[in-house]
């Protein structure tokens, strides 16, 4: 599978974008020429130069430095959120599939209830209750997205439950926990990773979307959505201030989406 992935142009493009975003996040303190919130009003809307490679914003902050640190904000929220959702989805989805009809009915009802509302509506409601801040955004995204992941895992796990190896495992003395962790999860994992990689894209967009709406991270935070929000007033005078963070969101989300879809194509080809 790794060989097939490396031969797939779409996967390579996705992977390059993902690695670029992750490297930018990890190496931001080394790569950024300035601190993200370092203001210099004499440099207000400075043109790109050696010291400010992408120019400066309305407060004279280095645009490139803020974009680099912005990747940190997106990744530091999106990746832990996805990790938690992945665990929740895998455990609840497989438990729903093999924990008996009653448990399945209860979990399916709860999932259906959450899925019935648009993710953004749930997330906005949660942030409305908890207030702004990174922690609220994390909780909001988890609450908004977990049911989709659990439902997806359940459907794959149900397919696996129909296979004889599950019955053979039961006859070999596997209880429900062993069945879930030793058989079902390893077998649904490839499809799940595909879904997860596209989920990262949704999460990045959601984090930036909240910041743009002023619901998530504060306006002082170097974050792509917040930068986009801050640059709205300069759309005619300095449109590049909108283009830079917008392009970052687009490329980061596209990277995870392209990679996820390429993985799905590879897996479907193998099936």
């Amino acid at each position: 599978m790794i060989r097939k992935t490396l031969k797939n142009p779409q996967a390579i493009v996705g992977l390059v974008l993902i690695i670029a975003v992750l490297l930018a996040a990890a190496l931001a303190p080394l790569l950024a020429p300035h601190a993200p919130n370092e203001t210099d009003l004499t440099k207000k809307f400075a043109e790109p130069c050696a010291d400010y490679p992408l120019g400066a914003d309305e407060l004279g902050r280095c645009e490139l430095s803020r974009l680099l640190y912005g990747s940190r904000a997106s990744m530091s929220i999106s990746l832990p959120v996805l990790l938690i959702i992945a665990l929740l989805g895998l455990v609840l989805g497989t438990l729903s599939a093999c924990g008996g009809k009653r448990l399945d009915a209860v979990l399916s009802f709860v999932c259906d209830t959450f899925i019935a509302f648009p993710q953004l509506v749930i997330a906005i409601a949660i942030i409305g209750i908890l207030g702004s801040g990174a922690r609220s955004v994390i909780v909001a995204i988890i609450v908004a997205m977990w049911a989709w992941f659990a439902r997806m895992v359940r459907s794959y796990a149900m397919l696996e439950m129909g296979k004889d190896y599950v019955l053979a495992a039961r006859l070999a003395g596997c209880g429900t926990a062993k069945l879930i962790f030793l058989h079902l999860i390893p077998n649904v994992l490839p499809q799940f990773i595909v879904y997860l990689s596209t989920g990262v894209a949704s999460s990045i967009i959601m984090v930036s979307g909240f910041a743009f709406l002023g619901l998530g991270l504060g306006p002082e935070t170097a974050e792509w959505g917040a930068m986009l929000n801050g640059a709205r007033g300069t759309i005619y005078s300095h449109p590049e201030m909108l283009v830079y963070p917008g392009a970052c969101i687009l490329l980061a989300a596209a990277g995870f989406n392209l990679f996820g879809e390429a993985l799905r194509d590879i897996l479907e080809g193998e099936a």
Partner: protein, 251 residues
């Protein structure tokens, strides 16, 4: 002794299919019984009821006089250790992510809890018993032939030395040579273990070749159940005679 008495099984589909109708059968220690019948006659359903995998609509299954009530049966380790089934589709019956070693070791780990050294020795001995070369231990099911997959399933079923073994269509999908090898293996396993063995087959020739006792099933009913000496003359029911006339001589 494993006894099924007056088993009826109806499925809750739109047609209300009755897969098994008032079927009774007994598996005796040391005896190899072949349950034979056309496809769709209810053989697999009856074998799964006997194995405690699915519950009958009516009737009882008694293992040494104690009733087996599915699905609780699956949670009883003692029962799983004593009663094993080799499923029809070997490719599907093996976890694609498990190696041969891990597949065979799984019942040993769960049902016997042997130390790792003993587990390794037991897996090696089981692989030898079913004529699987040791180097296949680290392979995955997709890297095995149909016959090798079947052998892994048989080794896995034998892992806990069960007193009752059910082989569901053990030779389906295999070529003639492999079919003969697997049948010889089952016969050898049966004779060495002395287990009460039930083979499910739709081939009357396989039944005559293997059986100490043949039970013939038609439309969910057991129409004939008698000891067999290997001769077609053992069977007298008109439906059994019809199946005999249709069989091709076993090579």
């Amino acid at each position: 002794m494993l006894i099924a008495e007056h088993i009826t099984k109806s499925f809750k589909d739109s047609a209300g299919t009755q897969a098994v109708r008032d079927a009774s059968i007994a598996l005796r220690p040391g005896e190899l019984t072949v349950l034979v019948g056309e496809s769709g006659s209810g053989k697999t359903t009856l074998s799964r009821i006997l194995a405690g995998i699915i519950a009958p609509s009516s009737g009882t299954v008694l293992l040494d006089g104690k009733s087996i009530v599915p699905p609780a049966r699956r949670k009883e380790k003692r029962l799983n250790a004593e009663l094993q089934i080799v499923l029809q589709d070997s490719a599907s019956a093996l976890d694609p992510r498990y190696t041969v070693y891990r597949s065979i070791a799984e019942p040993i780990r769960n049902l016997m809890r042997l130390p790792r050294e003993e587990e390794r020795a037991r897996v090696a001995s089981l692989m030898e018993r079913v004529q699987l070369p040791p180097e296949l231990g680290q392979r995955h099911p997709s890297e095995l032939s149909g016959g090798q997959q079947k052998r892994v399933c048989i080794a896995r079923a034998l892992a806990t030395e069960p007193r009752y073994i059910i082989f569901d269509e053990a030779t389906s999908g295999l070529d003639v040579l492999m079919k003969e090898k697997i049948l010889t293996l089952i016969r050898a396993v049966h004779e060495k273990s002395g287990a009460a063995t039930l083979m499910i087959s739709h081939d009357m020739d396989v039944a005559l070749y293997m059986a100490d006792r043949i039970a013939v099933m038609k439309d969910g009913e057991i129409v004939e159940n008698r000891a067999c000496c290997g001769s077609p003359d053992c069977l007298v029911h008109p439906y059994s005679r019809l199946l005999l006339r249709q069989m091709e001589p076993y090579a």
